[in-house]
Symmetry: D2
Subunit: 309 residues, 4 copies
């Protein structure tokens, strides 16, 4: 389970646990990390842009980094270091690596438009963090409105030996996976692991297209692990069967804003974290939404006993 | 089945059929309309912004309007008239009403930002088309990046007696339905039908929240009709069971760009239209995507015989 | 004064005149065209995206096209044909050419992002309008949020012999002019006229960088004509002197929304059009804004007698 | 010269000086602060979003804060604290106040859309930084794409006694100033100082509309000081005469991206900072752009001896 060109499986995007009064909950950082390990993940990603990382001050960010890495043992930990400026990016990247991170993840800032602007940005980012720091490209047009065509991703990968992975989060994105795998086949791009995001909403077919796994935060990482394992073992129907049973909840959790509340609520029910509180400003589930999630879990439990509470 | 304050059920967003050489296929307009009627829809919506309406010239648009209305019989037909300017909006609205349309649908242009700008826009639009033309508000922030809070929707509805329906397409949007139903309960807004879009991806819970049905183009409108009927009859579990069986395909069809190709491919397989061709510029399914849809249909056919070919 | 690779001078972006009740004012189309000719323009551009073209219905658009062309004599007339779909673009382009237009102008739609998407869009547009129709690229990132790097513009020019001109409206854009002139020098791009927009706000230095003139709608086209003439004659200081005298008004007119009201107000004062009315929805000058424009004109009249009323 | 409801004059947006190797240049922080004081500014604003603040790490940010405050004496210093999250905003706000800042400035994040979202955001921000910290609203739609109608600004001002000033940077924005002054006249809003940004491009008329001064970074703050003084003294023509002489350079400096390079180049020529270097990623003036600025300065020197070098 190493973070290299053979990486595969599931890198869980870890939640950030808070007490109900808004303080960082470091005890839950431990239990949550243990939970992910029990789920069979191959790696962990922390301080992602979709979560609550921007709500942390620098000291808190490092407390989370150290907490997770200290608990995760041999499992590689990736730290999201996207930042408005390179000084902050460099500071977080270097201190994370010093603390034992396996690498960092970098998303392009929203103002980038042209192919050359994107390629240049990653060159500057690598200069900032150092070419010795392994990094993951995060390709997430729906949120960031930066569109990276396959050839731009290829160029970044070929320009930088320290680029070790793609977090694929385009939507629609199946043809992009096929295009990148095609580049590997025709020899124009070196083998690079592709883990998929988007809450797992297309993981079933992403695996069919040649993805190596998932990097996302769905509240049943163990399901993601199973689907990736089944798909890699050629058990296509079984992979889809399990995936389809979870899809109603995957879909419900994928709502922007509300989704994080759903995720934390289920993680709390599963014992991973003590409270589903979000630090302000945060969304909370209404009573009706909570009842809807409970209903989804009940229905899911008929197919997957892990959803029975 | 009238387009008034008691409207409910499914208004199918109709596809625009073309021959493989790009010519408008008016024969398929007939067969497609017949297909929707067989599916049990309560209404039809044509020339929607997500479809291929902008590819039509004005004469072709009117040919589609007249073709569908002439074939639809007593079923109300709504015509999408969103346009960059009010002259074109008015021209299409008046000629559609003259041709027998039940009403028109208007989406806000992407540059609107503030509450007052949105309210003003709808006032100007009503002045342009005439206060005698019934209209539907299309609320679609994901595509249009115009955010309409519940109180803005309420104001438009209360300002204009000719506002007859909301096409609800916010995402996430469940709480918005609850908020609008709350306005009706507290007497601050008159009863207004809410039909939901977003490809049907949340229809199961939208019905639970009090929606009156769906207005979307999913390739199995008959499933939408059944889900709406079951939900309105209080058969919640059965509604979810049927919905969940379709969800993998609903989700696949909901990919922007690719989705329309999927929809037309299945409509062709079901005999609704002669060709799944899109007029240029259009997307086409790759062989692999086509095989994925076939696989989804096979899996669906185990639960719903209408998917067996 | 022909629309070919030696084109230069000023192509005025013509206003669209309305009566105060909103009807199209065709008599003012005549007087306005005469006014532009008296100003010494080398060409006219009509139905531009920043003006009121989207408020016209198709018949009105053609009435403007025919009115201007019929009056303009030997002066080339360019028609803006940017449209949400290619059917409407083709229809307007073909009927404009039939009516005697010299060419058309095409802006990229706002959703384009990558280099390839932009190049592909222009290929499809040329297929739609026909490769026999001369066209102008409109490059206007501030409004359209589509960024076209110099090499993308070069590719469009080299792919399409019918591409005859660039309307340069990037901001900042001086280095882009230098880059494109560099391509011509190194032989990688054929000679292509560059006319500059942005209300003329940088025309002084755009000429210094090698632009061939202006394509914009400033209410003193005769000043633009003089500046272009002086700059081409090597009278740099004189060009800047005249430009600087107008800059306070150029700047005032360049405010989005308000700008068009200023422009029409001055065109009315100069006798070019009968009324400064805008068709709804339009902005109107407040009394204070009107007084500010009058004050600017008074100050300008000290340097340029054409501003004295 | 206090930062209260009678505040007026010019608050210079301070540049961030770097050595040519990218290190922070604290000696130039001193000389630059001295320069601004000599120019007659009434206040200083540091760490603005348009400058190079995001390139600083937290320690460097505080070094700039302390450097400027220590040197500025009795002049109030405002610190820009806009941040992706409230933890970072609070940390910078509190430590800046502890270091002697007079207040902070907060811009709305780009994702805000509705009136209520904007009002809520400022409420949360005030909760985060503390209601004892005076703050400035930064209203900058062109860059941030958040549109704040006058009534939203009024509500923020009336909700929060700690709101002490508006940085007005809307475009077009003259009518907004009139609307806000109207609120003060009709008693619905308490008197609040309005300082204008946008590089000063409309300062002449903004003063005519009732603005209290400027908050911007133009390389001749002494001109801004003079224009504000003349306008407040009722010397309208003189204010416009001086402003117009500078307008060609104001306009040139207002180009996004390039503008900062121009500003630093002139500040260097004027002895305010030792180097015009930008920390990476930064733009640099080409030789031709530098020559253009020199040409503008020469022309300006005919009217304003401060531009003679």
């Amino acid at each position: 389970m190493s973070f290299d060109q053979n990486a595969h499986g599931v890198y869980a995007i870890a939640a950030t646990p808070f007490h109900s009064d808004g303080r960082l909950d470091l005890a839950s950082v431990d239990t949550m990390t243990d939970f992910y390990l029990r789920c069979g993940v191959s790696g962990l990603t922390i301080l992602g842009i979709m979560g609550e990382a921007p709500k942390l001050d620098p000291d808190e960010s490092m407390a989370v980094v150290k907490g997770v890495i200290g608990r995760a043992g041999a499992i590689p930990v990736i730290v999201g270091v996207s930042a408005p400026g390179f000084a902050a990016m460099r500071a977080l990247a270097r201190s994370s690596m010093d603390a034992g991170a396996a690498g960092v993840m970098i998303a392009p800032p929203s103002h980038l438009r042209t192919d050359d602007q994107i390629v240049t940005y990653y060159r500057q980012a690598v200069e900032a963090i150092g070419s010795d720091v392994p990094f993951v490209i995060q390709d997430y047009p729906l949120l960031l409105s930066v569109v990276m065509p396959p050839k731009v991703i290829r160029q970044i990968i070929m320009d930088h030996p320290s680029c070790r992975m793609l977090k694929h989060e385009d939507w629609p994105g199946l043809e992009k996976i096929s295009a990148l795998r095609g580049f590997e086949k025709d020899g124009s791009m070196r083998r690079t692991p592709i883990l998929c995001g988007n809450g797992g909403l297309f993981l079933d077919f992403e695996m069919d297209r040649g993805a190596d796994g998932a990097m996302t935060g769905y509240c049943f990482p163990d399901m993601l692990v199973d689907v990736v394992r089944l798909a890699r073992a050629g058990e296509r129907d079984k992979a889809h069967d399990l995936f389809d049973a979870h899809l109603p909840l995957v879909r419900y959790e994928q709502q922007q804003g509300v989704g994080l509340a759903v995720r934390k609520y289920v993680l709390m029910k599963r014992g991973a974290i003590a409270s589903d509180a979000q630090r302000k400003p945060g969304s909370a589930l209404t009573a009706q939404a909570r009842a809807e999630v409970d209903y989804l879990l009940q229905r899911l439990a008929r197919h997957d006993p892990r959803a029975a509470f």
